[in-house]
C-alpha cells in the first residue's frame, strides 16, 4: 500500500484534495477515516477521584463543553469507555481498583493523568497512603499538570490525544495494540501488603530516574 505521507507524482496533493472535496468528491485513505472517526468519539469513563474530578465535571458542563469534542457521554461502565481520566490523588488503597478498571476497559484505550497527584503524587507526595503517580502501574498517554488543571487544560489534552490518534498507523510495527495480534493487555494488579502495596511499582512500565548527585549538593 502506498504511503500517503510521501507524495509522488500519482498521489493527489492536499490542495487537489480540497478542490475535489468542494466538488463533492472525498478522497482519503482507510487509515485517515478510521482514525478520524476514532479520535472524534473518545468516550471517557466516569471516574473522578478527588478535586480534579470537579474540574473534569466542569469541563463536561455547559461553559467548557467537552461534548463538542465527541466526549458527549461519560460512561459509568469501563466496558464501554475508551478513556480513563485519572483525576485526583490515587491512594494506595485505591490503586488496585484503578488497575482493575484499566484492565476491564477494552482496547483501544487511553489514559490521562490529570493533575499533579495523578502524575507524581502531587502535594500529597510525602504520604504513607499516596501512590506517587498512577504511571507506576498503568501506561499513561498524556499528563496534564495543574492543581487542579483548568478545564481548558483538559480540553487541550483531549485535543492532543486526538492528534495522537490521528497520527497512528494501522499497519506495521507501530500499529496500536488492539490491531496487534498477541499484544498484552492486562496490567498486573497490586495486592495489599503489610506496609505497602506489593509490588510497589510495575517494573515493566516505570523505573525511578537514574541520577548522579553532584558532590556537596
Amino acid at each position: 500500500m502506498r504511503d500517503p505521507a510521501t507524495p509522488t507524482a500519482e498521489t493527489p496533493t492536499s490542495a487537489e484534495r480540497d478542490e475535489l472535496r468542494r466538488q463533492g468528491i472525498l478522497l482519503t485513505s482507510i487509515e485517515e477515516i478510521y482514525n478520524w472517526g476514532r479520535s472524534r468519539s473518545v468516550w471517557p469513563l466516569q471516574f473522578g477521584l478527588a478535586c480534579c474530578a470537579i474540574e473534569m465535571i466542569a469541563a463536561s458542563m455547559a461553559r467548557f463543553d467537552i461534548a463538542r469534542f465527541g466526549s458527549e457521554v461519560f460512561r459509568p461502565s469501563p466496558r464501554q469507555a475508551d478513556l480513563l481520566i485519572v483525576s485526583g490523588t490515587v491512594t494506595k488503597k485505591m490503586a488496585p481498583q484503578v488497575v482493575r478498571l484499566w484492565n476491564q476497559m477494552p482496547e483501544p484505550k487511553f489514559c490521562f493523568a490529570m493533575g499533579a497527584c495523578a502524575i507524581s503524587g502531587g502535594p500529597f507526595k510525602q504520604g504513607y497512603n499516596v501512590l506517587k503517580g498512577i504511571d507506576r502501574y498503568i501506561p499513561v498517554d498524556i499528563y496534564i499538570p495543574g492543581c487542579p488543571p483548568r478545564p481548558e487544560a483538559l480540553l487541550h489534552a483531549l485535543m492532543q490525544l486526538q492528534e495522537k490518534i490521528r497520527g497512528q498507523r494501522l499497519t506495521g510495527p507501530s500499529a496500536p495494540p488492539h490491531l496487534q495480534a498477541g499484544a498484552a493487555c492486562d496490567c498486573p494488579v497490586p495486592a495489599f501488603g503489610g506496609h505497602d502495596l506489593e509490588p510497589p511499582k510495575n517494573p515493566a512500565l516505570w523505573q525511578p530516574p537514574v541520577l548522579v548527585r553532584k558532590e556537596g549538593a
Binding site: Q126, G127, N129, R150
Partner: protein
Amino acid sequence: MSFSLPSPLESAPGARVRAVRDPFHGDLLEVSMGPHHPSTHGVFRMNVTLDGETVVKLKPVFGYLHRNHEKIGENASYLGSMPYTDRLDYLCSMTNNWAYALAVERLSGQTVPERAEYLRVILAELTRLLNHTCFAGFILQDCGASGTPLMYAFREREKILDLFESLSGSRMMCNFQRFGGCRADATPEWLEAARALVDGYGEFEELLTGNEILMARTQGVGRLPAKLAVGAGITGPMLRASGVGYDLRKVDGYGVYPRLDFRVPVGADGDTYDRYMVRVLEMRESIKILRQALGTLPGGPVMDPKARLRGFRAKPGEVYSRIEGPKGEIGFFLISDGGPNPYRYRVRPPSFINLTVLEDLCLGHSIADTVVILGSIDIVLGEVDR
C-alpha cells in the same frame, strides 16, 4: 447458609423491613457499591446487603482518598498547611481556609481587622451558595435527572468561581485566608460584580422546588430523628432538617455574624426532602447576609499590621475552634509546642461524622433510595478521608 438481620441499630421510624425467613425469598445479595460508582460522590464504598431491592445491612468503607493530611500538617509549618485545607472539602475552599485561620488566630491570640471579617463572611456565604447549588445539582443527578440540573448548577457555580478567581487567583483552591486577615483586598469593581451576582441569583432552584418527581423520590425517605442526630454528632443542614436549630453562626457567633440579620431554617420531618429544602432556604438566607455584608463593608486594611507570617510560631497550648461550613461543623484541633510546626493537627470533618447514621437511614429502603439518601447527606470525600 443462613442470614439474620443486624441487631444493635434500630430502624429509623417509617422504614419498612420485611422478614427474611420467607420461602419465596432466597439468599441475601451483598453488593459493593463503589469505590468506582457514578453516584457515590467520589471514591466511597458501601457494602450493601440486599433482600431483593431492600437494604438489610449497609457498611461503609472509607479510606480510598486518605491522603494523610494530618501527618502532612505535622511536618509542614502553620502557613504551609493552608493550601492543604483547600483540598479538604474541595468545593468549599474559602470556608476551610477560614476555619483553619480562625483556629490559629485563637491559638496565638491574634486579632483580625474588621474589613477582613466582613470579607470573610462574604466569601463564606458565596461558598455556601456555591455548595448548596452543587448539592441540588448532584442530588437531582442521583435521582436520575441525568445531567440537566447539574448543568444549571454548574452554570451558577461558574459565576461564583469567576469572582473567586479574580480575587484569589484560583477557581477552586483559593488559599486566601491568612492568620490575621485575608491575603488581598477586594476592589470596588469586584464588590460591584458580587452585588450584581447576588441580585441575579435564584432562578435555578425555582425550577426544582415544586417538582413532583423530586418530592415523590425524597419525601419520607431516610428520616433522621433529632435525638439520634444529636447523639451521632450530626451537624449542618442535616441536623437542622431534623428539627434541631443549632447553627454555629448563631450559637458561637464568630466573625461578624452577630451583627447581621438572618434566620436559620429548621426542618420538621428530617427526611431527604427536608434536607433539600433546608439547603434551599439557607441559600435564600445567604443572599440576605450577602446583601447586608456587601452594603456595610467598612474600609481599612484586610491584614493585621502586627501579624507575622514568615517564621510564625504559636505559643505552647492547644485550641479547638469550629465554624459553620456549608456541610456542617468544620473544626480544627491544634496542639502547639512552641515550634514552627504544630505538634498535632487535627481536622474535624463534618462529612465523615455525618455518615455515622448512613446505615440507620438506609435500612428498609430500596437500593435506589440509598443513592438519594447518600446524596442528601452531601459528602465530599476529600473531607471524609482527609
